[in-house]
Symmetry: C2
């Protein structure tokens, strides 16, 4: 089958389309004919060789497609349309997926739409609810509001919790889009001091929860934006990995809970439980059309590198998808 793998020689820009054996599903796995795969920052990190957790030589952590074969008992049968997280191997014609992590694709969805669901919606659900414990009518600050996870998180926080949603983004176009999705307060971080705007929007109290994709650059400003006893979920480091000086007393006197997290390196069992909770809580809203994946661009599989470059340039609103 055709697949995209990492070429370590600089001259090929890091990715090559190659011929590899079709994977064989282990007990409890599905073999899936991939129709679409989505691009994630973790793929870029893997391409750059900065992280070793994807033992699969083929890139890609989420797909949509049709079940070709189910090895062992499963609620899915050949011919079923499914989407979900894979342990690498997504940028290819075929991939294997633990059956308990597969989700049935809503009838109204194309394969491209379905591929845009798993990673960002599961991450948004995990960070808002499992980790962030968002309660009804609380306030949440979502950085990079127009990103894949950002657009998913805005919708979940509004539809599931009626939260006050405050977003940051770097252009009016992105902010307008966040507003259409339901965000209540729109902050252009290039033109405004976001922590001042957050305090203005929360009667000087700060937000109950922060979804932080930025990291180092925003450390002090996030600390200024969070309410006493607030929760802060660190999920990305777009703004740098290293904070030069951390004042621990500030974390103590505000009684802040800071949780670092990544979804990809979590265990199979964790991903299966998360998927099950997500299906239970969110699928009714998806099937009603109240919550939907946001797609920026669809590239053919052969243009995986161009697709990643598009993400690296931060030009996208929502997800970037590969059609296989």
């Amino acid at each position: 089958m055709k697949a995209i793998t990492v070429e370590r020689q600089e001259t090929t820009n890091g990715l090559i389309l190659t011929e590899l054996p079709t994977p064989v599903p282990a007990e409890g796995e599905l073999l899936i004919k991939v129709h679409a795969a989505a691009v994630n920052r973790t793929d870029i990190v893997t391409r750059e060789g900065k992280s070793g957790y994807a033992s699969n030589p083929i890139l890609g952590v989420e797909i949509s497609g049709v079940v070709e074969q189910a090895n062992g008992r499963s609620e899915f049968a050949p011919g079923d349309r499914v989407m979900g997280l894979v342990n690498g191997g997504g940028y290819a014609e075929y991939a294997v997926m633990p059956a308990e992590r597969a989700m049935r694709i809503p009838d109204a969805y194309s394969f491209e739409q379905a591929a845009a669901v798993p990673e960002v919606f599961l991450t948004a659900y995990q960070t808002l609810y499992w980790i962030g414990r968002l309660q009804r009518n609380e306030s949440v600050l979502i950085h990079a509001g127009a990103s894949g996870v950002g657009t998913a998180a805005i919708q979940l926080a509004k539809k599931l919790s009626g939260a006050k949603v405050i977003v940051t983004a770097g252009s009016q176009e992105k902010l307008d889009f966040c507003g259409e999705l339901g965000a209540d307060v729109l902050i252009n971080y290039k033109e405004q001091s976001f922590e001042q705007e957050v305090l203005k929007a929360t009667d000087g109290q700060g937000v109950d929860l922060i979804l932080d994709f930025v990291g180092a650059d925003y450390w002090d400003k996030n600390l200024a934006s969070i309410k006493k006893e607030g929760r802060w979920v660190l999920i990305g480091i777009l703004g740098g990995i290293q904070v030069e000086q951390v004042n621990l007393f500030a974390l103590m006197s505000k009684c802040v809970q800071l949780t670092g997290t990544l979804l990809t390196p979590r265990s199979d069992e964790y991903k299966a439980r998360l998927t099950a909770d997500f299906v239970k809580d969110v699928f009714p809203h998806i099937e009603q059309g109240e919550i939907k994946p946001i797609i920026d661009t669809v590239f053919p599989l052969e243009q995986a590198l161009e697709a990643q470059r598009h993400m690296e340039a931060n030009r996208n609103i929502g997800k970037i998808v590969l059609r296989t």
Copy 2:
């Protein structure tokens, strides 16, 4: 009444014994004839003028004594022996306390023993259970094991949860004492590399929970000592307030939850709920004599400064109490 308050002129070393009006209990408060008060690091911070959260000019955040007057409905009546947290005002002959924060003193306890209970046991309970969510048979690393909170936390983690308790301390005498209280693994941080010992004691996995009273000096070592998805509660900064160069990806890839906390600045309502939960879960063990406060030294009220100096020198094993 006589009371200890802070003198800002350097010549008196910061504390003076003075005559102040007896406080008047507001609705819902008890007026208590104080028999003993205990010394806490927060008192030292207040004396040094580094923190402004104690609006009461009199030092002291926990007392034991006898109810003199109850203003409003309460389960306590004049003559009852009670102990609990106060919003400042403990180093004095009389103090007021919200009634819903008072705990009945076990019959077998002296007033000195009772004064040694509230702050350290409530803090240990809060950090191990409310924040740290310690589960049965998990492992916990308790720094400063021979301190007031340390000696309380060792007992709670063993008796309530059968946890594997790993402690650090700076002398063999302190470690021996921790061992008598039930600690399983004793590490002399002056002679051993604690993170290596922790990994040895946990099959290379690290601990589920860290109670960290040290802060900056131990940052990297704590990160090395914690299990994936572990909880880390930051409750003191004996080893410095400022961490240079924090790598955020390390928090993310280990999915660590770091929570800063202090008990004194929490709301009245929080302290009341915490006290109620503590009484329900821990009092049966206290009344059976399975869990007990550890007292290092009792000073007369007039020697409050000497008592604080004793704590500053880190010479104590357990609590330092003032007899009023």
